[in-house]
């Protein structure tokens, strides 16, 4: 599994919530400009894992974590979560554009909320670039100043992707980004993810095995908080080494 350079390395990562050991000794490296899918039965900790990478778990009362998580040379676990989140963007299960803001302001929300002042030109540039990257520009360019909530679910989700991309994140985390969408919108998002990997490293959680096989380069299989298997997607799907992985995949395919 020697790919090109790794960007995010977890060593011996453990996470407890009160007395529950949710993630156990996770060692995993994510590679630049690849799409990595994290799969596993529900409750295996895959969402918790991805939320550790932008320190969103810090909000859970009683959470404790240990080990190391390096983004290049920096240990994310020792940084201020705010700085981590500016470098690691995230898109959630349900589209969540800010209902009080227009499409335009939603894209710029990261700057606005961090108190970063931009000139008008910079703003226009960022909005156009981000919406183009999220393949939404053509659909909304005439309605930029309308509220984001009038868009369809799929469009809203792409708006959320644009909002995350606007901050130029090193890594984009996707937490089951299509689970609330219809098949057509899902297909569009999947297409977009494949396009985006030339620009940004993507780590996604999915419960949809077909989706993982279609768009990911690498796949990690998590079971009861442990990393069971991690390899190229092709290998995981055709030549998995662990019976757990096989059982999971075949049951779902069956």
């Amino acid at each position: 599994m020697k790919e090109n350079k790794s960007i995010l390395d977890l060593q011996n990562f453990n996470l407890h919530i009160n007395e529950h050991h949710i993630l156990k000794d996770i060692d995993i490296s994510f590679y630049r400009k690849k799409v990595t899918a994290i799969m596993g039965p529900s409750g295996c900790g895959k969402s918790t894992l991805i939320r550790s990478m932008n320190r969103l778990n810090d909000l859970i009362p009683g959470v404790k974590f240990g080990g190391q998580m390096h983004l290049y040379k920096k240990n994310l676990l020792e940084m201020n979560p705010i700085l981590v989140r500016r470098k690691v963007g995230m898109v959630f299960q349900r589209p969540n554009p800010f209902p009080t803001m227009s499409i335009y302001d939603n894209v710029l929300a990261g700057y606005y909320l961090n108190g970063i002042k931009l000139s008008k030109q910079e703003k226009e540039q960022i909005v156009m670039d981000s919406l183009q990257k999220a393949a939404l520009w053509d659909e909304v360019k005439d309605n930029l100043h309308r509220k984001g909530t009038f868009l369809s679910g799929g469009q809203q989700q792409r708006l959320c992707i644009a909002r995350a991309l606007a901050m130029n994140p090193k890594i984009l985390l996707l937490d089951e980004p299509t689970s609330a969408l219809d098949p057509k919108a899902t297909a569009k998002i999947e297409e977009l993810i494949i396009e985006l990997k030339t620009k940004v490293t993507i780590i996604m959680v999915t419960h949809n095995i077909g989706q993982a096989s279609r768009i990911s380069d690498l796949t990690a299989f998590l079971y009861l908080g442990e990393l069971i298997e991690y390899d190229r997607t092709e290998t995981i799907f055709t030549n998995q080494k662990h019976t757990r992985t096989e059982e999971y995949l075949t049951r779902k395919f069956g």
């Binding site: 932008n54 969103l56 909000l59 009362p61 979560p81 705010i82 700085l83 981590v84 989140r85 500016r86 963007g89 995230m90 959630f92 349900r94 969540n96 554009p97 800010f98 209902p99 009080t100 929300a109 990261g110 606005y112 909320l113 961090n114 108190g115 959320c160 909002r163 995350a164 901050m167």
Partner: protein
């Protein structure tokens, strides 16, 4: 075994019950119509240019107006709003942000208890806290008494509104690297804006009709006064003093003031409903 009722009689029983409940409910419209009609018919005749612009006249002189009470009421509302709104919204945010734990629970209990405290007691509190140390009745003390009444209303509506805002919005803001305070101030509060404003309007409507807390605080006086450290008149105080007076001309002013007050309070309540629907 007692003979089972026939279906027929059961249906009649149901229809009768429904009618009884309906009649009881509708009866309630009568006093409302009486009250509103009475106030309207008596109050409208008092309305005139003079009524809004002049001071009350001494006994025996015809005419006069309630301009000092209008200004006094506005001043009292302004002071109470300045105190109660920021504090109430903040407490509401605190309660919706910390749903568990001992301190929030006690805070919630205190807010509920504050809401139930009789308004006259609030007046006595403001009297001992402000009138006694400063040595004089004042608009300030009246405003504080009203703020104590308004505070729980603003807090409750803020808490209820913010609790309904999905956590996903907060997560979205955090995921963009927004610090906690910006997330609350720029994302969460704006999302709950209409609910909070509606609560504020209801709070203002509630206190603008209050009389009891003003009896020994703002106290009332027949002159124009905008000094917040001195006593001043307000519409409810004027109604109380003039309604119970034996002079017809004063009673006429009181009816006019009643109509003005009712119109003001009811339009605030309606506004509060409209804001929340949008």
């Amino acid at each position: 075994m007692i003979k089972a009722q026939t279906l027929q009689s059961r249906l009649i029983q149901d229809a009768f019950f429904k009618m009884a409940m309906g009649v009881l409910s509708s009866l309630l419209m009568l006093p409302l119509i009486f009250i509103l009609f009475y106030i309207f018919s008596h109050g409208i005749s008092a309305f005139s240019w003079e009524f809004f612009t002049q001071l009350p006249k001494p006994v025996g002189e015809m005419g006069g107006g309630v301009s000092n009470a209008i200004i006094g009421s506005l001043l009292l509302i302004l002071i109470s709003a300045l105190v109660a709104i920021p504090l109430g919204v903040f407490i509401g945010v605190y309660l919706s942000e910390s749903r568990q734990g001992r301190i929030p629970e006690i805070t919630r209990l205190c807010i509920d208890t504050l809401q139930g405290i009789p308004s006259i007691v609030m007046g006595i509190i403001a009297y001992t806290w402000i009138v006694m140390p400063l040595g004089s009745f004042s608009v300030l003390s009246g405003g504080i008494a009203l703020a104590l009444m308004m505070l729980p209303i603003v807090t409750k509506s803020t808490e209820e509104t913010l609790k309904l805002i999905p956590d996903s919005l907060k997560e979205a803001a955090f995921a963009l690297g927004a610090p906690y305070h910006t997330t609350i101030l720029k994302v969460i509060l704006p999302s709950g804006k209409s609910g909070i404003i509606s609560g504020i309007l209801l709070g203002i409507a509630r206190v603008s009709g209050e009389t009891a807390p003003l009896l020994f605080t703002a106290f009332g006086n027949p002159f124009m006064s905008v000094n917040i450290f001195k006593s001043a008149n307000s519409l409810p105080l004027l109604i109380f003093n003039y309604a119970t007076s034996p002079y017809q001309d004063w009673q006429r002013l009181a009816w006019g003031a009643s109509l003005l007050l009712v119109l003001f309070v009811l339009s605030l309540s309606i506004l509060a409903k409209v804001v929340v629907k949008k």
